[in-house]
C-alpha cells in the first residue's frame, strides 16, 4: 500500500472513531432524568429557579459587565428573546427543550437548564 493510501485510510478510521466517541458521549449523557425545575445561572451563581408549569408569561433582564440577556417565559416555555452578545447563539437556540441541550450564552456566561429538585 502506498504512503498516500495509508494516510487516507488512517484519516477514515479516525473519522469513524470520532463519530463513535461522539455517539458514546451522547448515549451516556442523554440518559439522565432532567427533572422538573428550570434554573438560570450566571458565572455559576443561581439567579432564578422556575417551575415553568406554574409561571405566567413574563420577561426577566439579566445583566453582566459585558451586556444583557432578556429571558422570556411564554406559554410555560423559556427562551432568550433578546441579547447584546456578539454571536446571538443563545437566541438561536430557541425554547429550552427537556431532553436536549441547555440554553447557553457563552459571552455572558449564562446558562438555562432543567434541574432536579
Amino acid at each position: 500500500m502506498g504512503a498516500k493510501k495509508k494516510q487516507l485510510l488512517l484519516t477514515g478510521i479516525l473519522f469513524i472513531a470520532i463519530l463513535a466517541i461522539a455517539a458514546i458521549i451522547m448515549l451516556v449523557s442523554g440518559r439522565k432524568d432532567p427533572g422538573q425545575m428550570v434554573r438560570v445561572t450566571q458565572d455559576g451563581q443561581v439567579l432564578y429557579t422556575f417551575d415553568l408549569s406554574k409561571e405566567a408569561d413574563q420577561t426577566y433582564k439579566v445583566e453582566c459587565p459585558e451586556g444583557y440577556n432578556i429571558i422570556a417565559i411564554k406559554d410555560h416555555k423559556i427562551s432568550v428573546s433578546e441579547a447584546d452578545c456578539p454571536d446571538h447563539i443563545c437566541i438561536s437556540m430557541g425554547e429550552l427543550v427537556k431532553d436536549s441541550l441547555p440554553i447557553v450564552c457563552m459571552p455572558h456566561r449564562l446558562m438555562i437548564e432543567y434541574v432536579e429538585e
Partner: protein, 165 residues
C-alpha cells in the same frame, strides 16, 4: 524572518480575518448552535504547511485578537484562544508524525478547537452537562475540518510554488 515571509504571513492573517468576518456574517442557520465552518483554520493550516508552527501560532493569535476586538468581546477571545492553542498544538504534533494528510490534520484541528472551547466553557459555567453538546460539535467539527483540509491541500499545491520561503 525575511521580509517576504513577513508579507506572506501578514497576507494570510488578513485572509484569516476576512474569513472570520464572513463566518460571523453568515446568515445560514446551522443545525447545532455554535457550530462553525472554521474557515479561518484554512489560513492557519496553510501557514503551518508553508512555514512552521511558530508562524502559524503568530498568525492564529493575531487573527483571534483582531477579530475578537472587532466582532467579539473579552470572553469570546478567551474561548478562541483556548480552541486555537489546543488545535494548533495537536495539528503541529500530528503533522510531525506524517501519519495523516492535510485533510486528517484539519479534521483533528476542527475537533480539538471545539474541545478547547468546551473545556473553558465547562470551567466558566462550572458544569459538566455540556458534554452532550460537545458530542454534537465533535461531529460537525470533524466534517467541516475534513472539508477545510480538502480545500486547503488544493490551495497548498498551488501556493507552495509561489510562496516566499
Amino acid at each position: 524572518m525575511t521580509s517576504g515571509k513577513i508579507a506572506t504571513c501578514a497576507l494570510l492573517t488578513t485572509v484569516a480575518m476576512v474569513l472570520s468576518y464572513v463566518e460571523a456574517m453568515m446568515p445560514i442557520p446551522f443545525p447545532v448552535p455554535g457550530m462553525k465552518l472554521g474557515l479561518a483554520n484554512l489560513a492557519i493550516i496553510l501557514v503551518l504547511y508553508l512555514y512552521s508552527w511558530r508562524e502559524a501560532l503568530l498568525v492564529s493569535v493575531v487573527r483571534i485578537l483582531l477579530s475578537g476586538f472587532l466582532f467579539g468581546n473579552v470572553m469570546s477571545i478567551a474561548f478562541s484562544l483556548a480552541g486555537g492553542f489546543l488545535s494548533l498544538l495537536l495539528m503541529a504534533l500530528i503533522k510531525k508524525t506524517k501519519w495523516l494528510p492535510m485533510m486528517g490534520i484539519s479534521m483533528i484541528g476542527g475537533v480539538t478547537h471545539n474541545l478547547g472551547q468546551l473545556i473553558v466553557a465547562m470551567i466558566v459555567l462550572q458544569t459538566t452537562k455540556i458534554g452532550y453538546y460537545f458530542a454534537a460539535l465533535m461531529v460537525t467539527g470533524a466534517i467541516t475540518g475534513l472539508l477545510i483540509g480538502l480545500l486547503g491541500s488544493a490551495i497548498y499545491e498551488r501556493l507552495k510554488k509561489v510562496a516566499v520561503k
